[in-house]
Structure formats: structure tokens, C-alpha cells
Symmetry: C2
DNA sequence: GACCGCCAAACAATCGTTTGGTAGACCCTC
DNA sequence: GAGGGTCTACCAAACGATTGTTTGGCGGTC
């Protein structure tokens, strides 16, 4: 599982001048839909989530979507724009999950917070939607793109802030710091959490809510 | 301080075939010391911390250190190795700060934890040593390098775990999760904290310790 | 015939890295 | 103290691969 079989194929074929790109599937000439565009978005989403922005080339995405790199520019004006759209879709997906979770949650504010955290973790780790969180770790200097992505996340983080405020935290704790600590603990999970590991997501959400609520010191 | 005058020089000169690299300083032929090697490490550290691994080229580092890209390979066998050494130095620096802080700290375990967190934040945000924390956000698939860096951080994270255990947390809270939440909140700070912002580091350390100890719910 | 969606091929730039050479500091010998 | 030799630390220049992107054309559907 550790070796990447792509490397063998990568060096094994190209003998001519340039790329001689060949998409994995010559996908039977789809009729007249824009379904191919979404296929590109899906491919890009999975790749970006795993290997990061710089770790994925336009050719990687194209191959996964069954086309050539140049063809991507029919659908998206640049790699930055493609990433931004992938990111936006991921944020939307997590937001939708949050809405659904809150609709089914009880009224007690801490229980609502726990439900929200679980939805967040689900959307973050269940699929490969980690794009939503990998992005803030962009090079600090890549201001243009980074700012667009931050704007996309603003509304979502505001939701989290409101849920926290509903819990009525102690007035001597800065609510801004509170939210940042929570988001930090939350967004750090992709670094260590693995499916099938020691703790499942519900347990993580429960423990984090409990910590936020009562702290770790014994009563 | 925000604009990079390098960019102007970068595009303004190169007209010939390849690089035509010119280091910013022709640093007067240092006598017979290995001081240049540390200059490379310093340059690399500052650049990596700000722009990330993929955002920095060997030519960038070389220019900052006053030499040409090929010369770096006299000191370091590869870019990966250079980064690993920068990372190791950053971890060592933060560890040293932690030792100093603990030596001057009182005996009460929560106070010790707070001192440790402050030292961590200091080492993380004060200088450009964020390499220590930016690194885990490497592409998940870059196994080789990522594993080396994780090993470098292991001893440090064990220290944090021990400090937390000394606080005698409630037995119904998984101490592993506790540590991960704490590290998450801590390591997320480079994303939002800015010098001169709303909260200074001591305040952040105090608030985080207080949250970990007593939680956010009112008594 | 028009337009959509894609291919094929190239473009210029940049990347990490290698190779061969060389100026100067050092050491040894005469 | 002059001369030779060696080693250190670097320069200069390239190599091959890969990058994001552009351009022109073409088969198929309407």
C-alpha cells in the first residue's frame, strides 16, 4: 500500500517529445450533457483532498476524469478557479449536513452543539471532502486564492459561533477565542483520525463537547 | 515589509536561456567556516515557514542565502533532507523553550500546563518557526518525508501528554483525545493569530488552559 | 451550417538535481 | 618563504522532467 504504482506507469510510457497524455478511460463520448463537468469536479475533489493543491497537476485531474489536460480549460479558466469551486462545493456539502443534523437535534444547546460537531466531522472525514480544511494551510503568501476560500467559509464559521453562543458560556471566557479553540481541535482531526481507529466520530464529537462544556478537571 | 522586492529583480533580468541565477549578495568569500551552512538553514527556515514546502524552490533558498541553487547540494543531499533538518531544528528550539519555561514554573500542574502552552505558542508564532506545525499538513501521500517529521515531533508530544496526565483529568475522558484536542487548538493558532491582534499570547495560553480545566459552561 | 465538447500538440517557464570546473584557504616540503 | 598539492565551498551551466496554459482543429449533435 505504500508504493505508488503510478510512478512505474509514469516513466514507462512517455518516449516521444512531450506528454503523450492518455486518459484512463476514453469514456464513450457522452451525448449532450454537462455531466463531464461534474466528473471533473469529482476527480479534482478527491485528488485535492488527498494530495493538496500543489500535489495535484491538471494532468492528474484530467486523467482521472477521462480527458486531456487542455480540455479542462473549456470548463474552468484556471487551476485556482477549479480549486475554488471544489472548495465551495465542499463547504456547501458540510453546511447541508449541518442543517440536516440541527433539524433532527433536540433543543438543549449543548446537545445541538454536539450534533453540529458530529456533522462537521462527518463531512470532513467521511468522504474526501477535507478540501474544506486543508485549504487554510495554504502558503500564507498566496493571498489571492486564500482570501477567496476564507470568504467561502465565513458563513459556516458564523453558524458555529452562534451555536456556541447559545450555550451561554461563562462571560469571563472570550467567545472569539472559544470558537477558535473549538475550530482548531475540530479541524486538526484530519491529521490524526483514521477510519477504523480507536475512536469513532460520534465518540470524538461527544468527548469534545464534554470537554468544551465541563473541562477536564475532576469535579 | 510586506512587498517583496525580489519579484521585480526576478523578472527584470533573465533574458538568456536558463536561469542566469544571481544571488542577492556575493558575500565576500567567507574564509574557512561552515557558517554558510547555517545561513542556508536560516534562509530555508524563514521561507518554508511562510510559503510552505512546495511554495519554496531551491533557487529561492539559494538566493536568500547568497549563493546558487546547485551549491546547496554541497551541504544537503536533497530538498527533502534540507526541510527535515529545518524541521528538526525548529522542534529542538520549541523543546528548549518548553524546558526553560517548565524550570521556572510553579509546581501546580495546571499552572505548569499553562506555562508549557505559552512556551509552545511563543516558539510557534514569535519567530517564523511555524515549520514545526505547517508540516503535518503535508500531502497525505507524501509518506516518506511525513513519517520522518512525525518521528521528530513524537518526543515533544509525549511531553505534552505527560503534562496533561499530571493534571489528573477526569477518568471518563479519553486522555488520548484530550491531548489531540489540545494540540489541535494549539497548532491551529498560526491560522488566525496575528501579532498585535486582539489577544496576546499569554492571554491565549491562559484562556486555553482555563477552558481545558473548567470548561465553558457557567458554574 | 453552427455550436459544443474535446483532442493533439505545443509553449514558455520552472522545477530538483547533476556535472565539471575553479578560486582560495590550508598543509607540507624544500 | 617559495612552490606544489589537496581540500573546501562554491560558480556556471546545463539536463530532463513537469508545470499551467494556449492554440488550432475536428467529430458529433443539433
Amino acid at each position: 500500500m505504500d508504493q505508488t504504482p503510478d510512478d512505474a506507469a509514469k516513466t514507462a510510457q512517455g518516449s516521444d517529445t512531450e506528454g503523450a497524455e492518455t486518459p484512463t478511460e476514453p469514456p464513450a463520448r457522452a451525448p449532450r450533457q454537462d455531466s463531464r463537468r461534474e466528473a471533473v469536479l469529482d476527480a479534482a475533489s478527491e485528488l485535492f483532498a488527498v494530495k493538496g493543491f500543489d500535489g495535484v497537476s491538471m494532468r492528474d485531474i484530467a486523467r482521472r476524469a477521462g480527458m486531456l489536460s487542455g480540455s479542462l480549460y473549456y470548463h474552468f479558466p484556471s487551476k485556482d478557479d477549479l480549486f475554488a469551486e471544489v472548495h465551495l462545493a465542499a463547504v456547501a456539502r458540510v453546511t447541508a449536513r449541518l442543517d440536516a443534523a440541527l433539524a433532527a437535534a433536540p433543543e438543549e444547546p449543548w446537545a445541538r452543539l454536539e450534533a453540529a460537531l458530529l456533522a462537521h466531522l462527518d463531512g470532513l472525514l467521511d468522504r474526501a471532502d477535507a478540501v474544506a480544511v486543508l485549504s487554510p494551510h495554504f502558503p500564507t503568501e498566496r493571498d489571492d486564492l486564500a482570501r477567496r476560500l476564507a470568504a467561502q467559509r465565513d458563513a459556516y464559521e458564523e453558524r458555529i459561533r452562534a451555536l456556541l453562543a447559545d450555550c451561554g458560556p461563562r462571560p469571563d471566557l472570550d467567545p472569539g477565542l472559544l470558537r477558535l479553540f473549538l475550530l482548531g481541535a475540530l479541524n486538526w482531526t484530519p491529521v490524526w483520525w483514521r477510519p477504523g481507529g480507536a475512536a469513532d466520530l460520534a465518540e470524538v464529537a461527544r468527548a469534545l463537547t464534554d470537554l468544551m462544556r465541563r473541562g477536564a478537571a475532576p469535579v
